[in-house]
Symmetry: C3
Subunit: 270 residues, 3 copies
């Protein structure tokens, strides 16, 4: 399948180029983000002080911004880092964790999208709707309840921000405004381990840092985490649960082959 062959090639590129991926992220899942970045073959850098983020951005191939545990100090650093990344033309990924839960988060996302040109924004349906609410008109409260409505919101937001939008869920929707990709790997146990969403953003950063097609890179990241989740689930023995599952996620991303992507990947164009 054409798409899966492309994605398999993107994985090869990550491993050959081993891009540096700068994260400004939350302190809850930061260790997992670093290790998943290493697992896929890229290299993580975590730094969040305003006095050094611009210099760090000068050294890297991608920047991931995650608002999981915001505070005033790091918001300023996010803006500085994002602007510098834009200046350099490297991809910037946004994970708007928990937008809508608090005014601080919603305001911060507004500040970020007003100051930074993002390459990819990834969230669940509720998060993406709230990001969209800042920028595009959503017609009717129920418009996102249908898959069709969700796709339309994602496409509109994508065009408005000139940015790949990824809505993660049982079926992932990824669009650059024109093309729409649907991905269906994964397992619901991924939702029972903290940070699998954050780690997916790290994988997006890793793939985008080594590949120019950000739509396909985002699909590759989502498929990577999905296949790793499936394989980790399949490997669980009696008495094992989310502890062992999480350990295997790193094993399975580390060991992921291009053949596995081609055999197990479930992704299609609209």
């Amino acid at each position: 399948m054409e798409v899966l062959n492309s994605i398999a090639n993107l994985l090869k590129n990550v491993r050959e180029k081993s891009p540096l991926v700068h994260h400004i992220t939350n302190y809850v899942t930061v260790n997992d983000c670093a290790n998943i970045t290493l697992a896929i073959g890229a290299s993580p850098i975590m730094a969040d002080d305003k006095k050094e983020v611009e210099q760090m951005v000068s050294l890297v191939s991608a920047l991931v911004i995650n608002i999981g545990t915001l505070n005033e100090r790091t918001i300023e650093s996010m803006v500085l880092a994002g602007k510098k990344a834009n200046e350099r033309g490297i991809p910037v990924i946004l994970d708007p964790v928990g937008i809508g839960a608090t005014t601080l988060r919603t305001d911060t996302v507004r500040t970020l999208i007003n100051n930074i040109k993002f390459s990819v924004i990834k969230g669940n349906m509720s998060e993406i709707k709230l990001v969209a609410g800042e920028k595009v008109e959503i017609k009717g409260v129920d418009s996102a309840a249908s898959e069709e409505g969700a796709v339309q919101i994602a496409k509109d937001l994508s065009k408005q921000l000139n940015c790949v939008i990824a809505i993660t869920g049982a079926k992932d929707i990824i669009t650059d405004g024109d093309r729409v990709l649907y991905a269906q790997n994964g397992h619901k146990l991924l939702g029972r381990v903290t940070g699998t969403g954050c780690m997916t953003a790290s994988l997006i950063g890793s793939y985008c840092g080594a590949n120019k097609d950000y739509l396909m890179a985002t699909a590759a990241a989502v498929i990577t985490m999905g296949i790793a989740g499936e394989k980790s689930m399949e490997s669980l023995k009696d008495g094992e649960g989310i502890g062992s599952f999480k350990v295997r996620l790193f094993d399975n991303v580390f060991n992921l082959t291009t053949d596995e992507i081609k055999e197990r990947g479930k992704v299609r164009y609209e």
Copy 2:
């Protein structure tokens, strides 16, 4: 056994209600706290900025405050969050990690108990004595050396603060000032993994977020961690140690059944 049947029911409630548990906690064990909350069937939220903690508290069923890595920024957030939680009538759990080691920690605990009505305070004997020292008269230096003395301190503190007090140790003591529960599950290897105490506080938050009887909910949490510790220990193979033990803790909390609580739980009233 009556108590164990009750505790088994509390576990069912956690899994049915999946309460949101807000944590303001340390950056050392925060990931483990999030995952143990997910393992038992509840949902964690970590947020510590003063600009958003009150709104976060408005969304949740319980608040856990842990002073493991204090700083000025988060102390203010703890007070704001705790007051809001009191306003809403949701349970607030305090883990006074390392009180007495520094003036900052002792002062912070004083500030917290003077501003916030806690539902449960959990610590080891030394920590609880120091919390008590802020509020109740301890008769003689050796009064806590005996189990009897320890129980009296816990009861007095409990009455003074109108709060469940849990003293964790080889034998856990849990009291609401009238009733006293003794729990004896666990294994000493739990003391060789960082964060098992913090995780117990997360479990208390999870149980209290889904159940109104905070004394029993606290006993349930302590028993849950204790049984998970025993099972993890039993499962260790040659060459395995605290790395594998920690992974299994999450597995065993995740897989804990009500039958296991009834069969393995060691808890009795005074």
Copy 3:
């Protein structure tokens, strides 16, 4: 072998004395640092607020400073803690993570070495060269390209700062300015898990907290992590990768015996 017998004895001392090791470290790998400290038999304390670090230092046997995720608040705490540790005569270990990547890191290391007498500075070749660049003249750009050049830089820096210098790599170089030890345990997979360098610094802190010969203590720590890495690698089954490898690191440090040090240790004097 004489050196390995000595190192085996140092391990015994760590387990007998269980020294408290205070860390001011980054939020990426802090949990792993705490657990590796527990695994070797010491006890970790993490605290970074300027209001409490001096009191914490008063309680401990060693201090580890790691600049992995710097910010203004913690830099001040590092200086206060380091000065207090010097006053008390306890060992202070520096891990200058990422020095040279940003001005903030380079300036901070300069501030630290100008204000604090370190007992051990550990880094990779590039980091140690940059620390040396602050203090000793490096003759010619290529002087560190050869092993001979590297050893000379380490010795000069060691004499200048009156401090053990450890350069980690495929072959580790450890010197107190006079004696030079070469250690060669380890596996390249250690470089694919975040925090193995930070954990080595924690092990150095643990060994130095229980032993007066800091040169040998540093070698012991490096050998400990190296042997654990080798054993973890050997134990990997099909389908396992960095997730399982990391879990086993803790298992293997926890289970390390003095006999294993004697049998597997690869360390020799110049």
